[in-house]
């Protein structure tokens, strides 16, 4: 098995670029969904909101300034090829340095505090980033990155449903979470749903689901249909863009699933604002 050496500095550089790009440039999937919603929306107020969001994204991209002031907490899903050896440093440090450089050099807001309850002192470089690593076959590193704002993160929820709750239980919990969020999470929202696994696995799947392009579907047709059905149900709530009413409460619903225990059916709903900032790279 051939070993491939990757310089820590190259990882830092790639991560720095990822976070600057995803904060400045809205994804094509989101842009198309916003344009489509703007054309189909029946409420004049909502159409105006959607126009302003499209204008916002044009300005951010042109001027290379963040789409939103809440440039979030950095989250990375990494597939680390087992043939890779990091030269001149460690993988973890190289990634954290990349996040730090992006947030300082890129004029991104530093939103992380060092201690959740007692001190709450800003770390001033937006680290630590949250890194999930899977060791996979191969000699490459693949990084899926996102930045998560907390206006929408705070509206998210996990519930340990049991098998008898069934499909209806899943739908009910998703709708309860969306209804509870109401106008707060900067609708139109993107909803990431994780079903299965354990308590924390469901939450991780939900997060990963928010980073999947919204013009894609779950591979299993039954879950793909559930994504479409939930999107229709959420858009019937009438919260609308900016919570001012209308038929554009969500732009997309993504479901990720995993095998689970005979006694359980964990469901996590990660609410994301319309921007759903994400980007991928391979080193």
């Amino acid at each position: 098995m051939a070993i491939r050496a990757i310089k820590a500095a190259d990882i830092t550089q790639a991560v720095r670029k990822l976070f600057m790009d995803l904060n400045y440039h809205i994804g094509e999937d989101i842009l198309s969904a916003l344009q489509k919603a703007q054309q189909e929306e029946s409420s004049a107020v909502a159409r105006n909101v959607l126009s302003q969001l499209l204008e916002n994204h044009r300005i951010a991209s042109e001027e290379e300034i963040p789409i939103c002031q809440d440039t979030g907490m950095a989250v990375l899903f990494v597939e680390y090829g087992e043939q890779v050896v990091v030269e001149d440093g460690s993988f973890e440090e190289a990634v954290q340095e990349g996040v730090c450089r992006a947030y300082i050099d890129g004029y991104l807001r530093k939103s992380v505090v060092d201690d959740p309850v007692f001190d709450r002192c800003n770390t001033k470089d937006n680290t630590p980033a949250i890194i999930y690593t899977d060791i996979v076959k191969g000699d490459k590193i693949r990084i899926l990155a996102g930045c998560k704002g907390f206006g929408s993160e705070n509206m998210s929820a996990v519930k340990m449903l049991t098998p008898s709750a069934g499909l209806e239980g899943v739908k009910q919990f998703v709708m309860d979470t969306v209804n509870h969020a109401g106008p707060n999470p900067c609708p139109p929202i993107v909803v990431g749903i994780g079903i299965g696994g354990t308590f924390e696995k469901a939450a991780m799947l939900a997060k990963k689901a928010t980073l999947r392009p919204i013009d894609t579907h779950h591979a299993d047709k039954r879950y793909a249909a559930l994504e479409d059905e939930l999107l229709t149900m959420i858009n019937a709530t009438d919260f609308g863009a900016a919570g001012l009413g209308g038929s554009t409460t969500a732009l997309g619903v993504n479901i990720e699933t995993f095998p689970t225990h005979i006694a359980g059916m964990p469901v996590a709903v990660n609410i994301c604002c319309h921007a759903a900032r994400h980007k991928e790279t391979e080193i």
Binding site: V45, V49, Q52, L53, E55, N56, H57, I59, A60, E63, I65, P66, I67, C68, Q69, D70, T71, Y107, L108, R109, K110, S111, R120, N122, K124, G151, N154, N179, H180, G182, P183, N184, P185, C186, T237, D238, F239, G240, A242, G243, L244, G245, C273, H274, A275
Partner: protein, 175 residues
């Protein structure tokens, strides 16, 4: 579209109704979670505030850093409900307007009616666009809080919607 000059007068506040689109020109102060907590604790102890909030409009925002040549970085509204716990005490002390996003508690709406206060919604996520209407930003207090410091923003045609008016009427869709 109503053009409103700040500071707000009681007469102007009375004429604002839920759903009105407005453009705000003048100055606002900023403050979010950490600054609210500090102001509230001072009020509880009966100590003076570092900023005179009488007649002011407060904008719930933590701006991104300004790029060279910009007055301020992207600066969209943050969720208002997190300020609800502290808000009635500030309204009792003369705060006349708030700009944020999302729903407010019943206690806040009651205090708004009692004190004749208006709550504006700015569009969450339109931070780059909104920052164009902010012409100047200076720190008034709590510089150590970084983005959460209290700033004075000079705004010109800042776009907002009257989300809840001084009569307690709301245009927000809530569950």
């Amino acid at each position: 579209m109503k053009k409103i000059t700040l500071p707000l007068t009681d007469e102007v506040i009375r004429e604002l109704h839920a759903g009105d689109s407005v453009l705000l020109t003048g100055t606002v102060i900023t403050g979010r979670d950490a600054a609210h907590k500090r102001l509230y604790e001072l009020l509880e102890k009966g100590e003076p505030l570092p900023v005179n909030i009488q007649g002011e409009v407060i904008y719930y925002v933590g701006p991104a850093p300004a790029k060279p040549g910009h007055a301020v970085g992207p600066a969209g509204p943050t969720s208002s409900y997190r300020m609800d716990k502290y808000t009635p005490a500030l309204l009792d002390r003369g705060l006349k307007g708030m700009i944020g996003k999302g729903a407010r508690s019943e206690a806040v709406v009651e205090s708004m009616k009692k004190n004749g206060v208006v709550y504006f919604a700015a569009i969450g996520g339109a931070a780059a666009l909104i920052s164009r209407s902010i012409k100047k930003a200076e720190i008034l207090a709590y510089e150590d809080l970084g983005t959460e410091a209290i700033y004075r923003f000079t705004v010109e045609d800042f776009p907002a919607i009257v989300a809840i008016d001084s009569y307690g009427e709301s245009v927000l869709v809530t569950s």
